[in-house]
């Protein structure tokens, strides 16, 4: 059993890192704006598809990631600026608008990229394998973990050590107070939407290798998994999202290996259990 | 037997002590005013008495039955009713529907699922009587949100009275009203609470002197004085508390 444990562990952690990159944006938006961006999964896939296209075309992993992240960020800004900002304080209406975008973006992706999944891009310098403890593990796995960890640390630093991070954390506690202090909330909302979507888009390109390929449909599933991640981990902070992501990544990976019959819904059970035991999640703030 | 009795009631939020060791009782038919500067804990006390917030310590009893652990909706069934400092109505429903909901609150009929609410003759009659007593029967189909603030305040009080409660708590009933509206409200309360036991918090001294048999003064979470309005008016400690605030202890 040990021969499968280590690869599964690394797979689980790598998957968790990708989930972190996606869920971080969702958590940030929920924490700051109080709404669930149901279009987040679609935004993730959009960035992934474009990013992979650019990566294959330019043979540059970096360019692909940046392109994908930029597209995702751009869509995020569009949704927030053009639509959500006009529905001030109407949480349900905002959520419904994001839901509408799920359909629109998904269908546009199908229209543009077609139903055939887009192959992931692995740069030549990562296409080899690393031998660990007698087992051969794709180098890209480690890259995903490393990149994810770096981005996570950057976000953590932003959250705890910068002024913008402090503003965001304050805004989660008391938005009115923050605007009373003269800080304009509107650009903050846009920035949060941009940033969250940007990181998700990057995560799509980086993490596509774990799935082998990416297709327009994946957004839905990713949305649901991300929701599970942020609820389990707790909304609004990096530590929580990371914890939730790793937990889900590991549960899902090991679950599929050992209990394939439950594969479809283990995480939903986990979600429900957590929502009942501790609705604010592992690291969450009180609701 | 006292109608409402508080024994050693205390409430803290974490390190913040709102009030502690409060004990008082209301006898049947008494009208008691609760006064004190802002932040003295009047609304919190009302929340604890009605069960919206749990007490940190102490006991609340209604007709000698301990209701300290009873959720707020069950205290209503026991005869405890309350109005809120900020109008708390069913904004998008009509005035008549608002009052009907209030009347039904303590009746088993509220669970009925098949017969129309408006078919309950006695309840509709009671709603009519209540609304006519404040001259609002003509507005019965108006959405409550469309009424004036003064009218909404009247509705707020009517809702609390609708279930014919044995113990009525009014939280700053004349809050936000003009002098004229306030006078009308005071007259309304006087008329409609003839036999009811009432505890009301107030900043408005007109209200206190017109309605109250007894006054309880709350300051810094403690009862510092208790007695008939006249005595409170001349009490040295009370004078000291209000010195510097813009509430004048003059009578109507």
């Amino acid at each position: 059993m040990f021969d499968t444990f280590l690869p599964n562990l690394l797979n689980g952690i790598a998957y968790g890192m990708v989930l972190f990159l996606i869920a971080a944006g969702l958590s940030l938006i929920l924490g700051v704006m109080g709404i669930v961006n149901l279009a987040h999964g679609a935004v993730f896939v959009a960035g992934g598809l474009l990013g992979l296209n650019v990566a294959h075309w330019t043979n540059s992993f970096l360019l692909g990631t940046l392109a994908g992240a930029a597209l995702s960020g751009g869509i995020g800004v569009l949704i927030e600026r053009a639509f959500l900002s006009r529905l001030y304080k109407q949480d349900l209406q905002q959520i419904l608008v994001t839901f509408g975008f799920v359909y629109i973006i998904g269908n546009l992706l199908l229209w543009i990229w077609g139903p055939v999944p887009k192959a992931a891009f692995v740069p030549s310098y990562l296409s080899g394998s690393v031998v660990v403890g007698g087992l051969s593990i794709p180098a890209h796995r480690f890259a995903v973990i490393a990149i994810g960890a770096v981005i996570c640390l950057v976000l953590w630093w932003l959250q705890d050590r910068t002024r913008i991070g402090a503003i965001i954390r304050a805004g989660m506690d008391d938005a009115e107070m923050v605007s009373g202090l003269g800080i304009n909330l509107a650009p903050l909302n846009t920035a949060v939407f941009f940033f969250g979507s940007f990181v998700a888009g990057a995560g799509a390109v980086i993490g596509a290798q774990l799935f082998g390929s990416l297709t327009f449909d994946d957004g839905f599933e990713m949305l649901l998994v991300s929701i599970t991640v942020i609820v389990i981990g707790g909304v609004g902070n990096v530590q929580g999202t990371l914890a939730g992501a790793l937990v889900i990544g590991l549960i899902d990976t090991f679950g599929r290996v050992h209990f394939p019959e439950f594969a479809q819904y283990t995480i939903y059970l986990a979600l429900i259990v957590i929502l009942l035991a501790k609705p604010s999640g592992l690291f969450g703030r009180k609701l | 037997m006292a109608v409402l009795r508080a024994e050693n009631l205390a409430k803290s939020y974490g390190g913040l002590r709102v009030f502690s060791d409060l004990s008082f009782a209301l006898e049947a038919g008494e009208k008691v005013a609760l006064i004190g500067p802002n932040g003295a804990g009047k609304t919190t006390l009302m929340n604890v008495l009605t069960g919206m917030t749990p007490a940190s310590a102490g006991r609340v009893s209604l007709f000698d039955a301990d209701i300290s652990d009873m959720p707020s909706h069950r205290r209503a069934a026991f005869g405890l009713a309350r109005s809120f400092q900020l109008n708390s109505l069913f904004n998008r429903l009509s005035l008549l529907h608002n009052v009907m909901l209030a009347i039904q609150g303590v009746q088993g009929v509220r669970y009925r699922m098949f017969r129309a609410m408006m078919a309950a003759g006695p309840n509709v009659a009671r709603a009519r009587a209540l609304l006519e007593s404040v001259g609002l029967w003509g507005e019965r189909d108006t959405t409550v949100a469309a009424l004036s603030h003064g009218q909404q305040r009247q509705v707020e009080i009517i809702m609390a009275l609708a279930s014919d409660p044995k113990m009525l708590l009014l939280d700053e009933p004349s809050a936000g009203l003009t002098k004229g509206e306030s006078d009308a409200l005071i007259a309304m309360i006087r008329n409609l609470t003839k036999g009811t036991t009432v505890l009301f918090s107030a900043h408005d001294m007109d209200l206190v002197f017109t309605l109250a048999d007894r006054v309880i003064v709350l300051y810094n979470g403690q009862i510092v004085a208790e007695g008939p309005p006249r005595d409170i008016q001349t009490d040295a400690r009370v004078r000291e508390i209000y010195l510097g605030s813009d509430v004048e202890l003059s009578d109507a």
Partner: protein, 326 residues
């Protein structure tokens, strides 16, 4: 005499509609009749969701799950257990859904708003996950991602053909609508509205609001399951595709377009969306989701209260005073 005139006038549009519906199979294309059956079934489903959304103010995002339980239960009974007596299978299906609703509701109602949205979403996906399982015993029973086929018309004692099925659905939905309307006007129904408007006040007035919400949740799930039962008889088969978040989304679209909190709005929404789908599918079926999304967003901005209130207000103005109850 005045009261009678008023009654007829108020209900004239509905009487007219009823007349058209009753006569429809005689003059309309079978495809249209089929569309109307689908509209009625989904109208019932949306109405059951509206009880939660429009009346109690609960944002349930897992509603397709109950629909799916009703459909799958009937399909399983018919194709795996050979139970085809409608009265038996429909009762069993609705009962199962009601029991699941009791369990789901018990847990979901501990949280509110966004978290209630998320937990009901998860519960809906849980149902989806169970019925899409292709592995093992569960997979055998549910048919996995292919679903279950071969569900016949209901056996009610006498034979139902495709013609009489139309009337079967019409009558069933009419009865359910009648029940829902009574519930809406009852003290319980107004209690739900009170919860949506101002739950703390309702609590202070003596209402056990949790119990109200719980009962509403179970009733809603039961009616949704009934819609599922009718659907699987109509469709002949059921697959996981009809049970997931996409279907719940369409229901929400119907509520927004038709008007929440009005019951009749459910049928307006169902008619608009399904007619649009029928129309779009004949021209460009691949772009249907795009249209759905655009409609969603447009509706949120344009139809504050949905279409139905416009009709109601217009009719009330036309006849003078006293429109139909909502």
């Amino acid at each position: 005499m005045q009261a009678n005139d008023n009654f007829v006038l108020r209900w004239l549009p509905f009487l007219g509609l009823a007349a058209i519906l009753v006569a429809l199979p005689t003059f309309a294309d079978p495809a249209i009749a089929s569309l109307v059956v689908k509209i009625l079934i989904f109208g019932l489903l949306v109405m059951s969701l509206d009880l939660l959304v429009g009346y109690a103010g609960l944002w349930s995002f897992g509603h397709a799950g109950f629909f799916g339980i009703g459909a799958y239960a009937t399909a399983i009974l018919a194709t795996k257990l050979n139970v085809t007596n409608f009265w038996l299978s429909a009762s069993a299906s609705v009962l199962v859904a009601a029991l699941v609703a009791c369990v789901f509701g018990f847990f979901a109602l501990r949280v509110s708003h966004i978290y209630f949205l998320l937990i009901t979403l998860a519960m809906g996906q849980l149902v989806f996950g169970v019925v899409s399982t292709s592995v093992g015993r569960v997979g055998e029973i549910t048919g996995g991602s292919d679903g279950l086929t071969g569900v016949p018309y209901p056996h009610v004692g006498f034979e139902i053909t495709s013609d009489s099925f139309y009337y079967f659905v019409l009558i069933s939905v009419a009865i359910c609508t009648f029940i829902m309307m009574r519930v809406a006007d009852s003290p319980f129904g107004y209690g739900l509205r009170g919860i949506r408007e101002n739950e703390p006040r309702l609590l202070a007035l003596g209402y056990n609001t949790w119990l109200f919400k719980f009962i509403a949740f179970v009733i809603s799930g039961a009616f949704a399951a009934l819609a599922g039962v009718l659907f699987v008889h109509f469709n002949g088969f059921i697959s996981p595709a009809s049970v997931g978040l996409e279907t719940t989304g369409i229901l929400w679209l119907m509520i927004i377009i038709g008007g929440s909190g009005t019951l009749w709005g459910a049928f307006v929404g169902s008619a608009v969306v399904l007619s649009l789908q029928y129309f779009v599918s004949s021209i460009t079926p691949e772009r249907w989701p795009l249209i759905v999304g655009a409609c969603f967003i447009a509706s949120v901005f344009l139809f504050r209260d949905g279409i139905y209130p416009y009709f109601r207000t217009a009719w009330v103005r036309a006849i003078g005073h006293g429109g139909p109850a909502s």
